[in-house]
């Protein structure tokens, strides 16, 4: 398992075999000496958040409380929580590590991660909030036949959650091994158990607060690091860049685009997956139902975009700061004190080493604890969205339509337990695998299944159940199959000879997303059944609710 790849999930995946992979191959992450400062900081974080969970548990009585925290979270809080969901350890350590290794190329990824947000704001946020209740399937199935749409939505959501979760769990295990000196197995079980405590007892309220606290810690830590770096250069970015160019082995090349994106089709395809995939991630979509109305939903994406964008600018400065501080001090930060042997713990540790350089052991403990907390919070959000797909979309809307809120809540807790156990098992099973492609796969599937179905169901009046479900499954399957054929999986994971991958691009999105939209369109216009006519006739009522918010489920309804 190459820790570097896991953490730079996005990066390594997109470029598989590109610039990052060209860096030092560090092999299995080495277990480091037990870091007591980091463990103490982390224990404080876990203790504090479990206390919040206890408080949240007293407020989590109905299914609505469990799924959406009762819908009473403000736009600003929700914005921070969304940012918390999105600023994963992969983006913090991975992007700063990428900037450390390649300079400018890291910025290209940051931008890709950010640009999905305006699309969600301009086209989806308000309509999602007005039509939905607990899950995005509520939105997609508003005028459609419930069973097929819910089954599709739950399948797609669970697949996306599973891939995203594997990447997080394996990343967590490796990271903790390095940061805390804990065994991989204990690390994975620890993440699973703490996460279960949050979700099981505190539901959405606890998960949201964990995200908010973690987002604040991460933003504060990153801000401090960036300021400390700029302070060294009298707050002159030019001086920082000049010094970095002077000491970096690639010299001037770090200030311009490198080998990261090769062919234009890959560039566009990766861009599509990043831009539209965000609007199809179930744990992100779910956050829109935690606010009381469309106004707060819009505010929450605006805040989320602001924090995420700010954070990515910080990671760029941190990456350059790491170049200046670490390269000049190889004895402290490089294996055997030699730059050629790579950073201690791998290239993704650049930010962690920098934290030690600018803030000493105590600050490094803080940053390590934040990185761990980050994974914990993201896994909690994923589990919650997976559990609601099972209990709300499958159980309460398909198998037992007359169930009570208590029954639904019980099923969601059982589903949470199962998903938690599954996360631990998958984390252990994939320990030695290269899982870097999985985050990209989750984004590719999201932009090829959930996003087209949601988009067409809400905005196109002629869309029918048959079109949505067939098109959604076409996108889902095509995205998965083409990804298997790409070099990252076909060669790196399945062990086929180099050059034998039959899908030449970094992301399948351009093909699978287009195929999904085309199929939805084609099957819908060919669908002349009675059911299709009924569904089209319901469009004006759906539009009225999605545009005005009249009849939208509100916080006070439960």
């Amino acid at each position: 398992m190459n820790i570097k790849h896991i953490l730079a999930a996005v990066a390594a995946l997109v470029v598989a075999g590109g610039a990052i992979a060209a860096g030092a191959d560090l092999g299995q992450a080495q277990k480091q000496a037990t870091n007591w400062t980091a463990i103490a900081m982390f224990a404080i974080f876990v203790g504090g958040t479990l206390y919040i969970t206890k408080w949240a548990a007293s407020k989590t009585k109905s299914a609505a409380d469990f799924y959406t925290g009762g819908g009473g979270i403000t736009g600003f809080q929700n914005g921070l929580a969304i940012a918390g969901d999105y600023m994963s350890a992969a983006s913090f350590l991975g992007i700063s590590g990428l900037v450390f290794a390649n300079g400018f190329d890291g910025l290209i990824f940051s931008i890709g991660w950010l640009v999905g947000w305006p699309v969600i704001t301009f086209l989806m946020a308000e309509r999602l909030r007005n039509l939905g209740k607990f899950t995005f399937a509520d939105v997609a199935s508003y005028r459609f036949s419930q069973t097929p749409v819910r089954v599709f939505a739950a399948s797609a959501s669970l697949v996306i959650v599973a891939f995203y979760m594997i990447a997080q769990m394996v990343g967590a295990g490796q990271l903790i091994k390095i940061l805390f000196g804990l065994e991989y197995l204990y690390a994975v079980v620890l993440v699973g158990v703490i996460m279960l405590a949050y979700v099981l007892f505190g539901g959405m309220t606890a998960t949201t607060w964990v995200q908010i606290i973690k987002a604040c810690m991460l933003l504060a830590g990153a801000t401090f690091m960036a300021l400390a770096v700029l302070f060294q250069f009298g707050f002159s970015p030019e001086a920082l860049f000049a010094k970095a160019v002077e000491v970096h082995s690639k010299k001037d090349a770090i200030m311009g685009p490198g080998a990261l994106i090769k062919d234009p089709i890959s560039a566009i395809s990766v861009g599509m997956a990043l831009m539209f995939g965000t609007a199809g991630l179930p744990h992100i979509l779910m956050r829109f139902f935690t606010v009381p109305n469309a106004k707060e939903a819009r505010k929450s994406v605006a805040w989320a975009t602001t924090w995420i964008g700010y954070f990515y600018i910080l990671t760029f400065i941190i990456g350059f700061g790491a170049i200046v501080n670490l390269v000049q001090n190889p004895a402290d930060f490089y294996v055997g004190g030699e730059i050629a042997k790579g950073l201690k713990g791998g290239g993704n540790m650049a930010a962690v080493h920098l934290s030690k350089a600018v803030g000493g052991d105590l600050f490094m403990g803080f940053i390590s604890a934040v990185a761990f907390a980050t994974i914990l919070a993201v896994v909690a959000g994923l589990t919650l969205s997976g559990a609601s797909a099972v209990s709300h979309d499958l159980y309460a809307s398909v198998f037992n339509k007359n169930c009570t809120s208590e029954q639904e809540l019980r099923v969601s807790k059982i589903a949470t337990m199962c998903l938690g156990a599954l996360a631990i098992v998958l984390g252990i099973a994939f320990e030695k695998e290269n899982v870097a492609y999985m985050v990209m796969l989750a984004f590719t599937i999201a932009c090829s299944s959930n996003f087209p179905v949601l988009f067409m169901a809400v905005l196109w009046k002629n869309c029918t159940t048959r079109g949505a479900v067939v098109g959604g499954f076409v996108g889902l399957i095509l995205a998965a199959v083409l990804t298997i054929g790409s070099a990252a999986v076909w060669e790196a994971v399945l062990g086929n000879p180099k050059g034998s991958a039959w899908f030449p691009y970094n992301s399948a999105a351009i093909f699978s997303m287009s195929a999904a939209f085309f199929t939805i369109w084609l099957v819908s216009i060919l669908d002349n059944s009675e059911q299709a006519k009924k569904e089209r006739a319901l469009y004006p009522a759906q539009q009225l609710r999605s545009e005005t918010g009249l009849g939208a489920s509100s916080a006070s309804a439960h």
């Binding site: 947000w117 301009f122 685009p257 990261l260 560039a267 819009r298 994406v301 964008g309 009225l544 009849g551």
Partner: protein, 101 residues
């Protein structure tokens, strides 16, 4: 409640409002996508341009352009949200009130 909904859906102001707001959302999406893809296409097709030095130091055109795309994205989002949360919501409210009379 049903009469209110019927009256709203027959109100030409409502249809006009929805069409205007959707158009605005789509235009804003296109602007943000254009900014992003403009940058990505430069990365794909004209790397030397982004690596061009500006000024006397090491600063290249790519850095302010890249950071600019991030800042532009944030600003664009706030412009939309500000207008939607004031002007659009007020119009929406007025249309609903009118139908409830």
């Amino acid at each position: 409640m049903q009469d209110v909904l019927d009256r709203i859906s027959k109100n030409p102001k409502f249809l006009e409002f929805v069409a205007m707001r959707s158009r605005y959302g789509i235009i804003m999406s296109i602007i943000s996508a254009a900014a992003y893809y403009g940058f990505i296409l430069l990365v794909a097709f004209d790397k030397p341009l982004l690596a061009t030095k500006i000024g006397a130091g090491v600063m290249t055109l790519g850095v302010p352009l890249g950071v600019g795309v991030i800042v532009f994205t944030i600003i664009l989002t706030w412009i939309y949200v500000r207008r939607a949360n004031t002007e659009f919501d007020a119009t929406n409210e007025a249309i609903i009130k009118e139908a409830q009379k």
